[in-house]
Symmetry: C2
Subunit: 157 residues, 2 copies
């Protein structure tokens, strides 16, 4: 068995700070998207569909958004009620729906995007592009490590 730190190390503090930053970012994005009466998750759905004009199934949305299937139902329900997305039947598969952006939805995303891109620039203010890119690399390995912990810890051996 490896050495087990029983006191918080610098990496523990770094993890806490990472989660804290994410929380702050998420809160800020809620305020940000409220201007268009959207939640961050709702925008994420619209944004994904914007990038996939052919549309995609709800299960695919759930995987891209890293959230449970069942949550997509209500999310799409509300967006559909507002006329921003539409559930289209899939000829070959009567279980699933093809969720697509409506013209109104597309228009909304296009109206928001420039503000969003600008906000992203502001968020990284004071951080060079090189550092930002290195952080992205590190974040990806952090994601991988975290996923490993989660998947392995439940089935030891």
């Amino acid at each position: 068995m490896k050495g087990q730190p029983c006191a918080p190390g610098p990496r523990y503090q770094a993890l806490i700070e990472l989660l804290r930053t994410a929380e702050t970012l998420w809160n800020s994005s809620r305020v940000f998207f409220a201007r268009w009466d959207l939640s961050p998750s709702q925008f994420n759905v619209l944004n994904l569909l914007y990038e996939q004009p052919e549309g995609c199934t709800q299960i695919s949305l759930s995987r891209q958004l890293i959230m449970h299937r069942s949550n997509i139902t209500g999310l799409v329900d509300r967006l559909e009620a507002r006329g921003l997305v539409r559930r289209k039947e899939i000829p070959g598969d009567r279980r699933a729906f093809n969720v697509v952006l409506t013209p109104e939805g597309k228009k909304l995303v296009m109206a928001i995007q420039p503000h969003y891109f600008r906000a992203a620039e502001v968020v990284w203010n004071g951080i060079t592009e090189e550092r930002a890119e290195q952080i992205v690399t590190d974040l990806q390995s952090i994601s991988d490590n975290a996923t490993k912990i989660a998947t392995e810890s439940n089935e030891p051996k």
Copy 2:
């Protein structure tokens, strides 16, 4: 008015990756804490109280956890029902409660901590301590920038 990028830049991608990593981390921590039948938020409450043996009010908890007052009510309700925390009356102030860890709560936190600290080491696997520390610095300025956006965007000028 400054230059407004209307196309996604590298900083936009970096922001997306940051949020994605946070989501993954949060999901992993849910799996992690499930062993002790705790949600991440519940553990965060216990952990904060562990660091403040004198206890603290619910509004203070809400500020430290960056969440709304009203959410603390149910969180503390459930922890209290399990005997992990206790609401103590404050002599000078009949509005607020002093939330403190019970001996059982303290014992639980102490049982979890070594696992948590170890998990934090694993999460940063492959990243040097220097880089982790620089990331922390950057994360703090990102937090600040995000907070500014959120607070200013609602009251333009």
